[in-house]
């Protein structure tokens, strides 16, 4: 009688496990999938979402700290040791020739690059974004009359460029709010999955 009860309990547990497995298979949301999604967006110059790399604190403009925004041309998931790591995005190619410059709270003329100063040796590439250490933010940007809104989603991490208060971020700027939602969700999925501090219970 006891053994019968044990067998039926075992079948029940197995059935629940199978149902759970089936439900998980339907979702199929993994860090690899999120990486693949972002890399796909980046490929071909960004299909529907302009891929950008933004860095602050590395350069100065007219003597004040400047934020530079570049076209991010190629990314993959290789870490500093040269191995595949789904918790890292490596930016392998950045279009340096025409940055957008932000300083003193406004966007500046490209022709003013003469007053833009970069440290000697230039900007080190590749860059590595560690998803477990980023913060995700989003901005809606439109023209002065509110038309043509675009949705900028960034994953930002603190990086020391030689002085304090520096950061760099990987971002996408689609015109479609639904695509922005998916990008933000993928980024937050990577952030939560790769956050090692979650094991501390806090």
């Amino acid at each position: 009688m006891k053994s019968m009860k044990a067998v039926s309990t075992g079948i029940l547990v197995a059935a629940i496990a199978l149902v759970h497995q089936h439900a998980s298979a339907q979702v199929k949301q993994t860090v690899d999938g999120a990486q693949q999604f972002l890399q796909g967006l980046n490929a071909g110059g960004g299909s529907g979402a302009y891929p950008v790399y933004v860095v602050s604190g590395f350069a100065t403009f007219d003597g004040t700290p400047a934020m530079l925004k570049f076209w991010q041309k190629a990314i993959d998931d290789i870490d500093e040791t040269g191995t595949r790591n789904p918790c890292v995005t490596r930016i392998t190619d950045i279009h340096f020739s025409s940055p957008t410059i932000y300083a003193k709270g406004v966007r500046w003329n490209m022709g003013d690059r003469s007053v833009l100063s970069l440290p000697a040796g230039g900007f080190p590439v590749p860059r590595y974004i560690h998803w477990g250490k980023v913060s995700i933010n989003r901005q809606t940007v439109a023209l002065g009359d509110g038309t043509m809104p675009s949705y900028h989603v960034y994953a930002q991490q603190t990086t020391a460029f030689g002085s304090s208060g520096n950061w760099e971020s990987i971002g996408f700027a689609p015109y479609d709010v639904g695509l922005a939602d998916r990008i933000e969700y993928a980024m937050k999925f990577l952030q939560a999955s790769c956050d090692t501090s979650a094991d501390t219970g806090f």
Partner: protein, 350 residues
């Protein structure tokens, strides 16, 4: 005694290590929280954008009011007696351009629809001709078959009529008293049989020729159909090329008009911006009728000839002021800001 805890520890070690190095599995609760945070982020960023827009509009109104007051003061002092005052952009130019462009697009659509109707008519006519030709061929085939059957029936009847006149002819027997009759009858029968045979051969040849004729007709029909299709395709290609050319010309014209509109409606002045540096001048412009163009400017002090001023440019132009739109730096000038005249020298919107 101590083996069991050590074994358990060894079993648990890979799990612990993997949890430390690789990504962890998120629970359903965490995923729900992520989705909610995306919704919240979307709503809050939209709200922030609305607030920013309202703030910008207020700032713009305030700026316009200041500009109006400054103009009034300038008129009173007649500081710019040789220069026209800064005016609002000429109204209606951009609207007229948009209306004209929409009219062109509508006209193009109507032409496309007319062309489609013409092709449909042509196809219907071709189908009707093909059906008529098939019916004619079928009727001709039936007529030939009936003719052949009629000739066969006729030959049969002639054979049956000839048989009672010479019942023993087939065996070669004859009576001595009827020699002339018996000698004429076989000759007539032979002629009749020869005629029947000839008719039969002719019918056979006609029947043999009929499929060949059908094939030739089909080939001819296919050739005509092919030529018709080729002509239609050539016409479509020509029409498409013409349409593309018209669109390209319309687009080029629209771009040209937009560039001209940008230049003619531009009104600008030199200003200093808070935190922008002592005596460093910046551009304050009217709102451009089109954004995203690459533009060039020239700033001149009174007495400076056109072309000898300070040249500066801006890509992806959206208008300029201190902290609104682009901040476009002019630099140092030899005269005060209120004496600087700024012109847009070139605009490229392609």
């Amino acid at each position: 005694m101590h083996r069991l805890p050590v074994l358990l520890l060894l079993l648990a070690l890979p799990t612990t290590l993997s949890a430390q190095s690789g990504p962890r599995q998120l629970s359903a609760e965490e995923l729900t929280r992520l989705r909610k945070s995306v919704d919240t982020s979307r709503d809050s960023s939209a709200l922030a954008a609305q607030r920013a827009m309202a703030s910008r509009q207020q700032e713009e109104l305030r700026r316009q009011e200041e500009e109006r007051l400054a103009q009034q003061q300038a008129w009173e002092q007649q500081a710019y007696d040789d220069e026209p005052p800064i005016q609002a952009p000429a109204p209606g130019i951009f609207e007229a351009f948009v209306s004209g462009f929409q009219g062109e697009v509508q006209k193009q659509r109507e032409q496309d629809a007319q062309q489609q109707r013409f092709l449909e008519d042509l196809r219907r006519q071709t189908d009707a001709i093909t059906r008529q030709r098939q019916q004619e061929q079928e009727q001709e085939r039936q007529r030939l078959a009936e003719e052949h059957a009629r000739q066969q029936r006729l030959a049969q009847q002639q054979r049956q009529q000839a048989a009672p006149q010479n019942p023993g002819g087939g065996a070669g027997q004859s009576t001595p008293g009827s020699a002339s009759v018996t000698s004429a009858a076989p000759a007539a029968a032979q002629q009749q049989a020869a005629r029947a045979q000839e008719e039969k051969l002719r019918a056979n040849v006609a029947m043999e020729r009929q499929p060949q004729q059908q094939i030739r007709d089909q080939q001819e029909g296919s050739r005509i159909e092919l030529e018709r299709k080729r002509a239609v395709e050539e016409k479509m290609v020509t029409d498409r090329q013409r349409t593309e050319e018209q669109r390209r010309l319309a687009s080029a014209q629209a771009t040209q008009q937009a560039e001209q509109s940008l230049r003619t409606t531009f009104r600008g002045a030199a200003i200093t911006c808070p935190g922008g540096g002592k005596d460093v001048l910046y551009l304050r412009s009217s709102s451009p009728p089109k954004t995203g163009c690459n533009v060039g400017f020239e700033a001149r002090c009174p007495g400076t000839a056109t072309g000898n001023g300070v040249h500066f440019s801006q890509a992806n132009y959206i208008g300029a002021s201190c902290g609104f739109g682009d901040s476009i730096r002019i630099g140092h000038m030899a005269c005060p800001a209120d004496q600087v005249r700024v012109d847009m020298t070139q605009a490229t919107c392609s």
